[in-house]
Symmetry: D2
Subunit: 152 residues, 4 copies
């Protein structure tokens, strides 16, 4: 599938970083965009007690937010100038409780398209030097044209 | 389907409220459990600028967290004593940008089961006196037995 | 949501019936389009032994095909002239084994859109005079323009 | 993840083949189980005109049935003696119209578990000597114990 993953703008990295920087929620929870390539984005989140659910694991909603954001920006790396990106839908399987010092979310494009881009995301937990898969996501991102309030 | 929605513990409301109270993430974002019945839970979230994505709408991950939490606790209202609840998986369609003064998430049980409970969730945005549907979720919750660290 | 469900072509019923009639797979399994309204479609399938999986229940793929088709045509009732409809994605929860004399799939539009239409589907089994829910689907349908090979 | 994919019965291959052989629907559409390993199953389907939707592509429900069946049996290769396998839920993205001489569905286990096994499936179309991805599935399979009517 990789042969199609051609960026359409040369400054896609700066564009993604600027948009990520405007995500107040990512900033608030302490997430960092750590790696970026055409069709791929990696986000890290250090553990924080105020992100947990009732058993002390990181809340599934936070895990999902990381995977969704990594996938959305993975899609955005391949989009043309002047558009915005929105999540249409996603499905996530939570495979194991999210515990450990750090969560790492990786999003990648499975199929780019003019309007819809299908992405896969994975979230790993780093705990005591080991990385384990805690969630896997499959979702659809949309290229939004001609709506200035959604241009990134 | 409603005929099967029989709570198995009499204090299910107190149990859900106590568990919700331990969700540090729900507290941190300002979410409130506002309504509760057998198989149904409603959660509200007042708008806050630090919950937004790059266009100023509430982040899809937050919308998802609300719907997931409402569904998880809707399932938990019907579970027996001594167990915990975990989200197995869910899929959400984001129908419209989440803007407005308040988000309202409603979770309800579609099919209770001994191990798995299937739930539907909806998230509405209240804006200028009107309520509009912004997301719809379909997910699977699990009754966790014999794992003391996951007992609610 | 219902206020938006306005057909854009007056002959939407004839158009859906003609397209359904070209679905060789629906014909082959014995499915019938039994009811049709703006944003809603109902399909029936009498039980047949050659549609079963290893335990003698109707195969999950057949159940899914019915729900998907009902949703796709529910979306198509609201689409303009000259376009086609394709399924982008769907998620289905299989709630109970599909047994009985007849399966009934009902698809309805949750949110129509210019490009994407979000639909919900349910499949019921009629067995000994009772109807029970066996599956629930949430999916996304696409309006396909300017591709003559996909015009319905 | 692969380190955990240990079959619990030595004759898992014979068991899967026998169960697949009882799937009347797979037989009826002409599907063949072509490859089988611990945690992995491959199914092929030669094109047939009576499996198509209104545009002449193989029906999304058939594509889904192949991916679901490959995933269910991938999960079943890892299950203990005396149990059955059922699909709990799955989500599929249809990436391209399913055309070509042959469809190939590959299912593999992402995470085995005592009760739930999470699987990924892909469906490829072979057309004029080339293979292209037409669908990707993420789903949950269940180990069914103590229900003789669902023992495989």
């Amino acid at each position: 599938m990789g042969q199609e993953l051609e960026p359409q703008v040369s400054d896609y990295e700066a564009r993604v970083r600027a948009s990520f920087g405007r995500q107040r929620f990512m900033e608030m929870i302490g997430a960092r965009l750590v790696r970026l390539a055409a069709g791929e984005v990696e986000i890290e989140l250090p553990h924080r007690a105020d992100l947990t659910q009732q058993h002390g694991f990181v809340h599934a909603g936070v895990v999902t937010a990381l995977a969704d954001t990594a996938c959305g920006y993975a899609a955005f790396t391949l989009m043309p100038a002047g558009v915005g990106v929105l999540s249409v839908e996603y499905k996530i399987n939570l495979l194991a409780p999210a515990r450990g010092e750090l969560l790492v979310a990786r999003g990648r494009v499975l199929r780019p398209g003019r309007t819809l881009t299908v992405c896969a995301g994975e979230v790993f937990a780093r705990h005591a030097g080991e990385e384990s898969l805690v969630a896997t996501l499959l979702g659809t991102m949309m290229t939004v044209r001609d709506r200035p309030e959604i241009a990134d």
